[in-house]
Amino acid sequence: MPKNPHDSDVTFIKALAELLNENDLTELQVKRDYGENDSLNVRVSRKQEVAAQIAMPAAAMPAMPAPAAAAPVSGEATSPADDPANNPGAVTSPMVGTVYMQAEPGSPSFVNVGDQVSEGDTLLIVEAMKTMNHIPAPRAGTVKRILIEDGAAVEYGSPLMIIE
C-alpha cells in the first residue's frame, strides 16, 4: 500500500473501479513498477458464477466460520498478487513463532527500512519453544519494507521483510 497516496493514485484506482463495473468484471489486478525497469503487470478477469464457486470454495462456504485470519497471519492484503510473499525480494519466516525486532527490549532494532544488509546479518528473531532463532539475511541488499511488527506471531512462510 502506498504510504503517501497521491491524488493521481486515487484517480487511477477510481478509473479501474469504474472499468470493473462497466464491464461486469470480477477481478482486475495491476502491478506497476515505474522504477528502473518500468514494468506493468495486469490481470483482468470475469469469472462465471459456477466457475467462481468451484475455483474458490472458501468463498462458497459462507456458513463455515471463516478459517479465521488466525493470529499468525501477518494481516496483509490477501489477494495473491498483493501478497508480499510473492515479491521476489521477500524474506519469509522459516518457522512458526513470535517475532522480535531487537536482541532484547530497549535495544535498537537489528535493521530498519533503508538499511544495507550483508548476507548472514541478523534481520530479526523468531522465538519458538523459548528458543531465540536469529533469522539471517539470505543475501545482501537494501531493506525495502518490513512487513511485521515486533511481537507479532508468524507462521511458516509468512513474509517478514523485502530486501532488494
Binding site: 468451484i54 475455483a55 470454495p57 472458501a58 462456504m61 463455515m64 466460520p65 478459517p67 479465521a68 488466525a70 493470529a71 499468525p72 518457522m95 512458526v96 513463532g97 513470535t98 519458538a128 519453544m129 528458543t131 506471531a153 508468524v154 507462521e155 511458516y156 512462510g157 509468512s158
Partner: protein
Amino acid sequence: MFEKILIANRGEIALRVIRAAREMGIQTVAVHSTADSDAMHVRMADESVCIGPPSGTDSYLSIPAIIAACEVTGAQAIHPGYGFLSENANFVQIVEDHDLAFIGPTAEHIRIMGDKITAKDTMKNLGVPCVPGSDGGVPTLSEAKKLGEEMGYPVIIKATAGGGGRGMKVAQNADEMEHAFMTARSEGKAAFGNDEVYIEKYLTTPRHIEIQVFGDGKGKAVHLGERDCSLQRRHQKVFEEAPGPSITPEERDRIGKVCADAVARINYAGAGTVEFLYENGEFYFIEMNTRLQVEHPVTEAIFGVDLVREQIRVAEGRPMSFTQDDLVINGHAIEVRINAEKLPEFSPRPGTITQFHAPGGLGVRMDSALYDGYKIPPYYDSLIAKLIVHGRDRASALARLNRALSELIVDGVDTTVPLFHALLQEPDIHSGEYNIHWLEHWLETNLQD
C-alpha cells in the same frame, strides 16, 4: 476445561477432532503444511497456522513447529489424531514440559507400549494372554521338542537376531521339528552371525481382533468390546467391523474385562486399543496402540458414544461419562477405508476431486475431508474417506454398506471403492468367515489385471 485446542494432524481425523471440539464449544487451531493450505481441516478450524513445507517430517512431524503454533495461538491442549506424532513419547514429554495438555495417555505409557518387548512383558504381568513361547533362546533340539509338545504344534522357530522373514521356520508337528530347528539355526548363523533361536506357537489362520479400552487416568477403565480388522492388505486394514462375527458375548466379556483391568491398573488415560490374534477361541496379545484408531467409528456406532469427546473430557481431568454398565451393544457397524489408489496395484493416486457426493440416509456416516475441487496432495497417506454403516444386525449393516457404496461419488481419482463392491459379492464376507490371510489370498486370485 479447554477453551482452545490444537489438532496436530490433517485429513479426516483432523476434521473428526474439530467436529467433537466444536460440539463441546471448544475453539480449534488447525496446523498445516504449505501443501494443505486449502485442506478441509484448515477451512473448518477456527484458526490455522502454516507450520512447514509439504514434507511431513518438516511439518506434521515437526515438534518445535507444533509447540510454537500452540504458543502463538494460545491453544491449551494438543490432539494428535493417529499416525504422525500420536505415539511419540518424546513429543508428549515436550508437550507436558511446555505446560500444555496432551489429549492422550502419558509419555510413559506410550513408551512402554511402543517397545514390543516391554509391552508384551507388561501386558503379560497384567494378566493379558500372549503368544506362548520360549523364555529366551532354545539351545537344544530336545528342549525345542519339549516346548513343541507343551504349547502344541504348529510352532515357529525364529532366529533371535533375525528379521524380515529370514531365519524363521515353521514346524507343523514333532517330525518336522528337527529340520526346522536346524535350518533356522543355520540361517540365523549365516545371515546374522548368531545361531540362537527361540520358539513361539504358530497361528495358522488367526483373526485380528482388537479390544477398545478407555481409562480415566486415575485407575478406572472400561472396555468397548472388540473390532474385527482381519481384512488386511500388507498389514493395512481395509474393512473393519464391530462386533466381531466370531466373538461370543462371553468371550467379549472375558477378554474385555482382562484388558480394562490391565489398563486400569496402570492408570491409563484416554483411548487405547489392545490388539490380539485370535484363533480357536484363544486371544494372543500382539501390541497396544496408545491412541485413537482409524476404525474407532464402528465402536462409536454400536455403543452410541463419542470417543473423541471422551478423550478431551479425560484430558481435561474430568471423569469418563460412562461406566461399563452403560456400555451396551446396539446393532452392528462396518467401516470401509476408501483410499485414493488404483487397483489392482493399490498404487496411490493423488489428484483433483472433480465431484464428491456422500451417501445419505439412515445409518450412514461419512468421515472425509474431501470436497468438490479438492486437490489430494501426493505427500501423505492415501486414505481419503471412511464410510461407516450401522444396522440392527450384521446382515442389515452389509446391505446398508452395499446401498451406501452405490450412492457414493468420488470422481477425478481412482479409489478403492471397486474393491468393496467386489467384496460384497463374496459369500465369505457375508458369512463372516475370514482371517488375516483371507484378503491377500482373495486379491491374488481376483484382482489380477
